[in-house]
């Protein structure tokens, strides 16, 4: 069995209003060292397959078809054997 850890982030070209709001809050706490803030999603998936290659392909497909929207988001994932 594998665990896929998927990170979905807004594409660089896309403005992130939530990230900007958090940046403002951090500045108000005195953290002026903070530059840009981006907020994304963290998704853990249990993948009940034995073969790493197959798990890789399935994770890729899930990211492309549902977990990320390529029009606005990038994704990457890590596959751990568990």
């Amino acid at each position: 069995m594998f665990k896929a850890i998927v990170y979905v982030t807004l594409r660089e070209s896309v403005i992130d209003p939530a990230g900007s709001a958090v940046k403002t809050s951090l500045h108000s706490l005195g953290h002026d060292e903070v530059g840009d803030v981006r907020i994304g999603k963290y998704i853990e998936l249990e993948i009940n397959l034995k073969d790493r290659q197959a798990a890789e392909e399935r994770a890729q497909e899930m990211c492309q078809k549902l977990l990320a929207n390529p029009a606005i988001e990038d994704y990457r994932y890590e596959l751990q054997e568990v």
């Binding site: 896309v14 709001a21 606005i72």
Partner: protein
């Protein structure tokens, strides 16, 4: 003319869609659940507003992969009329029936108010009863209404006159080119962020939304020579 309102878990505009069709067209509507697999009896398919599947992941993302959406795609390919309002518009983009995607409002706030919308294209099946460039009043209610697309897509939308509605005066969410509603290339699928079904009676503040529904009926009658 048979009209279906698709109901997903979290849809909250179904009743308003139903009432709008009853009020404006004196026509009955069927509710069709997201798990159903047949829309062959329907001529017009309405996707209401709400927060389908809690808007987890992205607004409209999970609704876009439900069984009924395969049928909506089929109906759209056959030239049937499909109208998605608010979350319904988001579902249509996520399903790939309309280009682009939705981001959080530029100022991250849920906005619910009446706004001015300009009718950019009055030659779609949904806008026949409007005058070109006309300004109308419609309510909005959304937190993720910021329509986004690549420049190339925008150019294509503009060239093909696919931009149907634009925000006028103020752009409430930061949408590219102030886009409030677009159609697909064939013109039979419309997605719009403002709610026409909530502007159908004087006491609601505006009756401008009525003409979206009367346009649909007019188009259908012209095409089928019947009621």
């Amino acid at each position: 003319m048979n009209v279906a309102v698709i109901v997903f878990p979290g849809s909250n505009g179904s009743l308003e869609m139903d009432k709008a069709v009853q009020d404006c067209l004196e026509h009955k509507v069927d509710y069709v659940r997201h798990t159903e697999t047949d829309l062959s009896n329907y001529d017009v398919i309405l996707l209401p507003g709400g927060a389908t599947f809690g808007d987890y992941l992205r607004p409209g993302a999970m609704a876009s992969v439900t069984p009924i959406m395969a049928e909506v795609k089929q109906a759209a390919a056959e030239g049937k009329l499909v109208l998605g309002v608010s979350n319904g518009f988001q579902v249509l983009t996520e399903a790939g029936l309309l280009p682009g995607a939705f981001l959080q409002n530029e100022k991250p706030k849920f906005r619910t108010e009446s706004i001015t919308v300009k009718v950019d294209n009055n030659e779609t099946p949904f806008t026949l009863d409007f005058v070109k460039e006309e300004s109308i009043q419609l309510p909005i209610a959304h937190g993720f209404g910021n329509y986004y697309c690549e420049e190339e897509t925008l150019r294509r939308l503009e060239q093909n006159q696919q931009i149907v509605f634009r925000y006028e005066g103020q752009n409430p969410n930061g949408s590219v080119a102030a886009i409030a509603g677009i159609v697909n290339e064939a013109g039979n699928v419309l997605g719009m962020m403002p709610h026409p079904e909530r502007a159908t009676q004087d006491w609601l503040g505006s009756v401008d939304g009525r003409r979206v529904f009367t346009s649909i009926l007019k188009y259908w009658r012209d095409k089928n020579g019947a009621a």
